[in-house]
Amino acid sequence: MAKVVTEHDYARGVEVLRNQIDAKIASYLSSCVGCGLCAEACLFYTETGDARYTPIYKVEPMRRLWHREQTVAGKLAKAFGFGRDLTEEDFAEWQEMTYDSCTLCGRCSMVCPVGNDIAYMIRKQREAFSAAGYSPPGLQGASQRALEIGSPMGVTWKALSAQIGHVERATGLTIPVDVQGADYMTLFSSMEIMNFPEYIEAVARIFDAAGVSWTVSSKAFEATNSGIQIGSSEIARELVSRVVDAAEGLGCKHVISPECGHAYTAIRWDGPNLIGRPYEFEVVHILELLDQLRQQGRLETEGFDERNLTFHDPCQIVRRGGVEEPPRNLLNMVAPNFKEMPDHGKMNWCCGGGGGLSANEEAHDLRTTVFKVKKRQLEATGVETMITACANCRIVMEEALEHYEMPVVIEGVTELLAAHLKPKAGKTETAATE
């Protein structure tokens, strides 16, 4: 089993960092002219004015190592005794910049004039910091629970089973579990299971109405991946493998990524590269699937939600995931007064809790401070209802809204659609059991 490193070993970190520098990163470091424009796109800089939070400065250990060991100029400088190697103090100092002040939202990567994907670089730098034990205790704990229990929040199958029981009693539906050959295997995030079980109910009702053949796996129901957040490919690989083994074992054609940002990145984009082969199934985000059902005429709604509402684009689903149109298509079915925020879509501002910050207690105050940009976006829109598609964004923003005493309600897209689902004529039965 993969291990969470808790003991400091900076030499190990240097070794891992050295191996993270691929051609992409070498080209990024070669192209960077130190223009500083990435700072103007990063909420940690714009909301604090702290120059240390300039995105490219956050990967300064990586730049120093690359320049010193992998460029002619750096090697010459080293030979003549100029400069210095990375030290333990560097790791201690940059832990905050690597974890606490970056949500891996990738907004900086969208504005860099030379095209540097700085979020990718920080993700890679996290590999070194996690291997060296310089990672936040909150993320270490979440990763440990994910490995040992199967969920970063310690949610067990029994806990999900209990929630499923509640949903079945509330809806009169049967949630299919471990159904061999179902078309879709559905994942949930711990946050949804414990904080927003209405998502599970919404999925069950919509799939029943649309006649979707689906199942939940008792062996792998957790969508989140702490390995991606702490920056350990070893941990991430093990967590992805559990899902892959379960889905391929059940013979499912698709795996559904739920309303969770980084879970989508983990299973859709990073997963095949982590396990070293393409999947035998296709990954689809719940928003993509719902939009497909809409196009096929299988998702029928009735009535409208007349509230003035807006949509918060989760970074990993929209900017880093490419699922931008589906939530808007779906909202247009039921929300005539839907209004976009300034900088919406792929340039939306992060909730402040992505990239593991929601599990990082040390970053709590900073997270609340940087929410000011979301506050301004909401005030400019003038709505009191915000729809989103990420349970992590939702819990982080709900807490911040309480802090700033803003009367804004947050709901999920799937939940909103389920509330307007056209009643199914005749017998209700899940397609998986038909």
Partner: protein, 213 residues
């Protein structure tokens, strides 16, 4: 004698170091390799790479107002320098006689003067921002200052060299050009070539995800 040296042996040595240095830098980058992406793409990565290589030349949406100064100064400098480098009459003559064997029409005098002013003003504004803005002070290296000053000296001596008939001034310009060319491959000036790789890599990844970056 001095002019003959800088336009002869030093120029050729500079060209060799410039070209070999750039080749080494590209080798340093490309030799590190990139693992193939095994995730099923949503759209074509090549198209995404090509799009981003072009699109990042235009200002992206989503900056805060603090970026305006740098963006304006950046465009002034780069556009001005491009016009000076490739459309100033003496440069075209030099390129025709010493490098390519053919030339093209030079920019009108008023365009040349405007470009020179834009390039000088842009470069000075960018350097002032580098020494005054807290973010820029934090991320700037010796190389950033050296590159800015070398570029300034090349442009300044270039203006001086316009005084035709003064061989020493022309030699001074050529000397500074040679120094810049020798320094170029080992500095952040390499972005003039490697931007194609960095934009391309990111554009390909984002293109595969269906994101127009």
């Amino acid at each position: 004698m001095f002019l003959e040296f800088v336009e002869g042996p030093l120029w050729y040595a500079s060209v060799v170091i410039f070209l070999v240095g750039i080749a080494i830098r590209f080798y340093e980058i490309l030799a590190r390799g990139v693992k193939p992406d095994l995730a099923v793409p949503r759209t074509d990565g090549t198209a995404g790479a090509l799009r981003t290589i072009v699109s990042r030349s235009w200002t992206a949406k989503g900056f805060s107002s603090g970026a305006v100064f740098h963006l304006v100064a950046g465009y002034m400098f780069h556009i001005g320098l491009f016009v000076l480098l490739f459309f100033a009459a003496p440069h075209i003559v030099f390129i025709e006689e010493r490098i390519l064997g053919f030339g093209w029409t030079a920019a009108p005098h008023w365009v040349f003067i405007t470009a020179a002013n834009l390039a000088f003003a842009g470069l000075i504004l960018l350097w002032l921002r580098r020494v005054m803005h807290p973010v820029m002070r934090k991320i700037s290296t010796f190389d950033d200052h050296a590159a800015a000053w070398l570029t300034f000296i090349v442009m300044f001596t270039g203006c001086m060299a316009l005084l035709e008939g003064h061989d020493f001034l022309r030699a001074l310009h050529m000397l500074s050009v040679c120094v810049l060319m020798i320094y170029f491959p080992f500095s952040r000036l390499m972005h003039a070539f490697t931007f194609v790789l960095s934009r391309g890599y990111t554009g390909a990844v984002m293109g595969r995800k269906g994101v127009q970056a």
